[in-house]
Amino acid sequence: MKCQKKKYRRRGDRRSTMSAEVPEAASAEEQKEMEDKVTSPEKAEEAKLKARYPHLGQKPGGSDFLRKRLQKGQKYFDSGDYNMAKAKMKNKQLPAAAPDKTEVTGDYIPTPQDLPQRKPSLVASKLAG
């Protein structure tokens, strides 16, 4: 599947460590699941997903997922924290964020460089060209 991940929809729990265990001998429940896989492609896909991310929450449409959606556009930068951290570190560099980090939490202090510059589009639309 060729498709880029959209950063504002990334969920922390999908990045959790994956279990390397192989399922044991099928119980009655698992047998039914295997039957479902044959009849329902959707359930087969669900099984695939659960195998890859065993810690995935039970309710995808639940409040965590929706609240993430409602928080789109949130950017975190505190000039006080930033300047205090800079003063403490003196000449040293502030720890840079990992390149793919999109959510800023924990000990990491966001720097102005992390906030993408938003400038209005000064170029005319190519549709009008």
């Binding site: 599947m1 997903l49 409040s63 949130q74 209005p120 639309s125």
Partner: protein
Amino acid sequence: MAGAGGGGCPAGGNDFQWCFSQVKGAVDEDVAEADIISTVEFNYSGDLLATGDKGGRVVIFQREQENKGRAHSRGEYNVYSTFQSHEPEFDYLKSLEIEEKINKIRWLPQQNAAHFLLSTNDKTIKLWKISERDKRAEGYNLKDEDGRLRDPFRITALRVPILKPMDLMVEASPRRIFANAHTYHINSISVNSDHETYLSADDLRINLWHLEITDRSFNIVDIKPANMEELTEVITAAEFHPHQCNVLVYSSSKGTIRLCDMRSSALCDRHAKFFEEPEDPSSRSFFSEIISSISDVKFSHNGRYMMTRDYLSVKVWDLNMEGRPVETHQVHEYLRSKLCSLYENDCIFDKFECCWNGSDSAIMTGSYNNFFRMFDRNTRRDVTLEASRENSKPRASLKPRKVCTGGKRKKDEISVDSLDFNKKILHTAWHPMESIIAVAATNNLYIFQDKIN
């Protein structure tokens, strides 16, 4: 009443024969984010076609008059006006970045020589006036032709300025700015049939505005729970009924639609009708709720039906029957066995729109790989077409496309695994009266016309 899934029946009889007409936009492979088209909308007469993009710009195309002597000119759309509607903003109080992306454009019915449209981003709705100027006054008393003010003491005679023709200039000016009424992100706007009011909907609330009043808005639907931990669904789309000015519908992320009557109470938290298709609990999976989320809801022109788009299908509902849809059309059922990957790459959250044709006899919606699907409600036939530069010879007929799901791939078929999920057609529009369609493929706008036209 289920329509055939994924199949492509060749057009015949009363079916359309779609042909390429025009394509707008750059050809380069590298698409700038700002150029991605985010909304497409014909005006009430179909003479104007507006597009909005992620860069906050609006481009309006106008249909040329057909009697220009050129036999083959079947009313082409050319640029009429373009302007920057919204700019990126930062809400410092909430540390919230506000995108300039145009989420929706809705035209107002034309009442005089000027054209009006509403455009919205996540937070602010603007009313734009697009007017033509083809005359210029010459011979002012107080200023020279180049605009410099004349010394009033040097003026010895008065003259009457004369109106002289000039090259047509189309001006767009913001007449109203409706701001600060939405805590969450606006997903829909809809002009009321009374032509005086309109609604704007975000994830949790719907507001009613008067077109003349920008400092006040009435909240008519509020589904925000007292405790946000209890949040289970959000509003995904909303629309006013085309004729009944008191009726509106809104769809949810759980696949339900509520119809509200504004006459019953000021706050329409209690619905008048609740549309939901019963689900077989044994078929429920992790993906069920996500793929049932409705991404678009549209009333039919005659006001008797409404259409909803969820991830895999389009459903037509009779407003008098809440229990189940009267028609279900599969858009790309073959994706059901790819849901795991589509969840991982976020494509499962793509919001496809849908539209009716002028007579409500056909419906259209987009898919992946620059495919789009059309369903004829009378003949029950459906077809898959592709918007691509390869089929872009003038008046070239579009060949129906077919996606192969099984092992044996026939010639001309494309296998599910070869589909390009970056090429998504989320926005399409159908001319209100004629067989002309506009299809937005990322940064390109395709216009197709029916051969019989």
